[in-house]
């Protein structure tokens, strides 16, 4: 791992390159480090968000690297499509793919990444990721600008949320800018971390519309199929689904359910299926790979989402993009996601969801629903990764012009924002972090560290070699699973 090469060797070719990205409207190019515990090979919303956003930012000429913790034997540096470099740092995983945090032990490794990659903006993702918070903490100590994206909603009522929200307050009080995925998520984050709402931007998630195209020929016309794709856990409202299935199946003999996903609540659905003898009408497909999702979606007429909480809900956009009629619970940020005529919102009760589904089934029978093609056309342009990248770029531009709080101001901010006790403790931790950084800088000065080979962004080597092809290929390449493209350095 690592590229121990002379700085000069890197600089030499970059000086010769024809600057292809000079025409960009935004003259300022950033070196961004995305940090999160959650990245491929782990699968989920945060993972694909980081990957897609990075790809689009590379396309716009920025330099992007990703830092995450090691997954099993996957340690060291890997390259993904378009030279996107991923650092799999050997940090100990504690719980649910999140690393343990001591506030200090990750500083040497992260400093190494930030210095070698000449990072200007650190962008951390997900409030559940300890590594993200650690990196924000160290980046501020090192004087780098910081951005944080919150992907989830959190309550206020129990002890665990009180503690987590306090930690979030400490972590975000001196972060330059925060991004949330919906207005509800913004309200939630502003309240949780006691933030000024003006430093919180709302940039929704996106889906790749070319991945989710309708195909009505896959539907069976003698039946109505309801598709559910979600992890089978309590928070996704699978218990409600267990109540809906028998109720509707008894009323409509031609109704079928297609359920993709895995989880502890699978038992509930299996019990329901057993009790009401619905084996031929309720199919449980188990865990689906991302590439198989579209194949399942296009078989259905109606997409059902029963979540009890959701910051954005990409699933309903994917469903609508495949031309399905969407029925969903009215929770979290869901009402903001789709226009009223593309979604039927219900209260999170069996009664209300059944009523909503019945209404849509009746419409489906009378063929008064818009054809899948026209639904797709409307959804296609709503959420694109390019748009997300454009708006995120504006955040970086804004952040780059802001000052990183010097140590003394940072203490004052911590004390005034986080209360006398927690504020003092973390001001002390910040001092220790700073001293540790000084020690590291004395042991290995910044100037003695090699600058890494620049793969993407201004002066990127990747572009130079594949520059001609990359324009046409990049669009297709972003769609392919990152997995298949990994190479070991």
């Amino acid at each position: 791992m690592g590229q121990r090469r002379k700085v000069g060797a890197v600089k030499a070719p970059s000086s010769q390159r024809d600057s292809a990205d000079a025409s960009g409207a935004h003259s300022r190019k950033h070196s961004i480090c995305m940090v999160s515990d959650f990245f491929y090979p782990n699968m989920g919303g945060v993972e694909s968000h980081i990957y897609q956003l990075s790809q689009c930012l590379i396309e716009k000429g920025h330099k992007v690297v990703i830092a995450t913790h090691s997954y099993g034997r996957r340690t060291g540096i890997r390259y993904l499509t378009n030279g996107l470099k991923v650092y799999y740092l050997p940090l100990q995983v504690m719980y649910n793919q999140s690393t343990a945090t001591t506030c200090f032990h990750s500083l040497p490794l992260l400093r190494c990444v930030f210095v070698r990659e000449q990072i200007t903006v650190v962008h951390a993702h997900s409030s559940f990721s300890a590594m993200a918070h650690d990196s924000l903490f160290h980046a501020k100590t090192m004087g780098l600008n910081t951005v944080f994206t919150d992907h989830s909603l959190f309550g206020f009522a129990d002890v665990s949320s009180v503690l987590t929200n306090k930690l979030l307050t400490i972590s975000l009080c001196d972060t330059n800018h925060i991004v949330c995925v919906s207005y509800t998520s913004k309200e939630n984050t502003v309240l949780r971390a006691a933030l000024n709402p003006e430093i919180v931007s709302v940039i929704p998630n996106a889906v790749d519309p070319t991945d989710f195209t309708p195909d009505p020929s896959q539907r069976q016309d003698d039946r109505i199929t309801i598709v559910v794709i979600s992890r089978l856990v309590y928070r996704k409202g699978i218990d409600l689904l267990g109540g809906i299935i028998p109720e509707l199946c008894l009323k409509h003999p031609d109704l079928h359910f297609l359920i993709g996903g895995e989880g502890p609540k699978r038992l509930v659905l299996e019990e329901v299926r057993e009790k009401y003898q619905l084996h031929d009408r309720v199919r449980l497909l188990g865990a689906l790979e991302h590439k198989d999702v579209r194949g399942v979606l296009v078989q259905g007429h109606i997409f059902l989402n029963t979540s009890l909480t959701e910051a954005f809900c990409m699933a309903i956009v994917e469903g609508a993009s495949c031309g399905l009629q969407v029925v969903s619970t009215r929770v979290g940020g869901i009402p903001e996601v789709l226009p009223e005529d593309l979604i039927t919102l219900c209260e999170p009760t069996v009664r209300s969801l059944c009523d909503g589904l019945e209404k849509v089934i009746a419409k489906q029978r009378s063929a008064s629903v818009p054809p899948p093609g026209s639904v797709h056309t409307r959804v296609r342009s709503l959420y694109t990764w390019r748009n997300v990248a454009e708006r995120t770029e504006k955040v970086y531009d804004r952040v780059a012009g802001e000052e990183v709080l010097p140590l003394a101001k940072r203490f004052r901010r911590l004390k005034s924002h986080c209360g006398p006790v927690a504020g003092t403790i973390f001001a002390f931790v910040a001092i220790l972090d700073f001293l540790f950084l000084l020690l590291l800088q004395w042991l290995v000065p910044d100037r003695a560290m090699d600058v890494a080979v620049d793969a993407t962004g201004p002066g990127g080597l990747w572009r130079q070699k594949t520059g001609k092809r990359s324009e046409t290929e990049s669009k297709r390449a972003t769609k392919q699973a990152a997995e298949t493209k990994t190479q070991t350095q």
């Binding site: 909603l153 959190f154 309550g155 206020f156 009522a157 919906s182 207005y183 509800t184 998520s185 309200e187 939630n188 502003v190 309240l191 709402p197 003006e198 430093i199 919180v200 931007s201 709302v202 940039i203 929704p204 928070r235 409202g237 218990d239 409600l240 267990g242 109540g243 028998p246 109720e247 509930v268 019990e271 329901v272 009790k275 009890l308 909480t309 954005f312 619970t329 929770v331 979290g332 940020g333 009402p335 903001e336 996601v337 789709l338 226009p339 999170p348 009760t349 069996v350 009664r351 709503l382 959420y383 708006r391 504006k394 955040v395 531009d397 804004r398």
Partner: protein, 294 residues
């Protein structure tokens, strides 16, 4: 991009993501947090109602005090075991009658337990305790007295802490076991086997049967319940006073703080309660979904 500032006020901002709006991404509208609800469905406590509930805690404290007083009397030979035994039995009969009367008022017939079964278990318990009392008497002989006292104190404390004050009938297994453990420890330090037997019978009465009767009283006769609580508290303080004046003073101070000061603190802190709810909260499933399965 700068901070807020709507380019044209003619287009109202909407809380939707699917529409491209002419506002910056960090725009904060007037309607920001308009769905925030504070302290919804919060319970407003009234002082005397809380005092009444806290009186129950004081009552349980006093029960322990009464038990310890009885033990002190027994240890010093001021109370003959026969007297305690007969008093306990007559109290038990009286309490049983009262319990029956209160039960038949409320829910007659739902329990199929007969008087014969009650009599059987009482006889079983009494005979076994009587048979084993010589064994229990010598049980802790090899343990030093200080250890026994310390252990009893810890166990009685555990009993008080783990007692299910919300719904004490029947007493929780941890609290009941801790109390009986403490009673066995204390009873084993008494001079004779009959003393031990009498003490254990009394312990069962105080820690197992009395909370059941009290619960019935609380449900069916709230006014008398308050009176009984006050009575037990006075009994506890009086009993301790006859043995140690300093102890009695400390104990009454504890009772006052538990029953009068703590509720005051609760009401005062209630003012600072700030419970926020909004659309980000996880929805709760209120329906009973088990009927789809069973």
């Amino acid at each position: 991009m700068g901070a807020d500032g709507a380019p044209s006020q003619s287009v109202p901002w909407r809380k939707v993501l699917w529409e491209r709006q002419p506002f910056p991404d960090n725009y904060v509208d007037q309607r920001f947090l308009e769905e925030l609800r504070r302290n919804e469905g919060i319970r407003q406590y009234r002082y005397w109602a809380v005092v009444k509930e806290a009186g129950f805690v004081g009552q349980q404290l006093s029960c322990v005090a009464v038990f310890i007083t009885l033990w002190l009397y027994m240890e010093q030979g001021l109370l003959a075991p026969e007297v305690l035994l007969w008093t306990s039995l007559s109290c038990a009969m009286l309490g049983y009658g009262l319990h029956q009367a209160l039960t038949s008022q409320a829910e007659s017939g739902c329990e199929t337990r007969t008087h014969l079964a009650d009599l059987q278990s009482a006889a079983l318990f009494l005979s076994f305790t009587f048979g084993f009392s010589p064994v229990l008497k010598t049980l802790t002989e090899s343990v030093s007295t200080d250890t026994v006292y310390a252990m009893s104190a810890v166990m009685l404390l555990a009993h008080l802490v783990s007692f299910p004050y919300g719904k004490p009938s029947p007493p929780g297994s941890l609290s009941l076991n801790a109390a009986l453990f403490a009673s066995v420890c204390l009873a084993s330090r008494l001079p004779g086997a009959l003393h031990t037997f009498a003490m254990l019978t009394c312990a069962l009465l105080v820690f197992a049967l009395w909370p059941c009767l009290l619960q019935r009283l609380r449900e069916n006769a709230p006014c008398q319940f308050t009176g009984v609580c006050v009575g037990v508290c006075v009994g506890g303080v009086g009993g301790l006073a006859s043995q140690s004046l300093g102890g009695a003073v400390l104990f009454s101070l504890a009772l006052v703080s538990v029953t009068l000061l703590c509720p005051l603190l609760l009401i005062w802190l209630q003012r600072h309660k700030d419970n926020i709810q909004g659309p980000w909260d996880e929805a709760e499933i209120h329906e009973d979904l088990s009927n789809f399965l069973h």
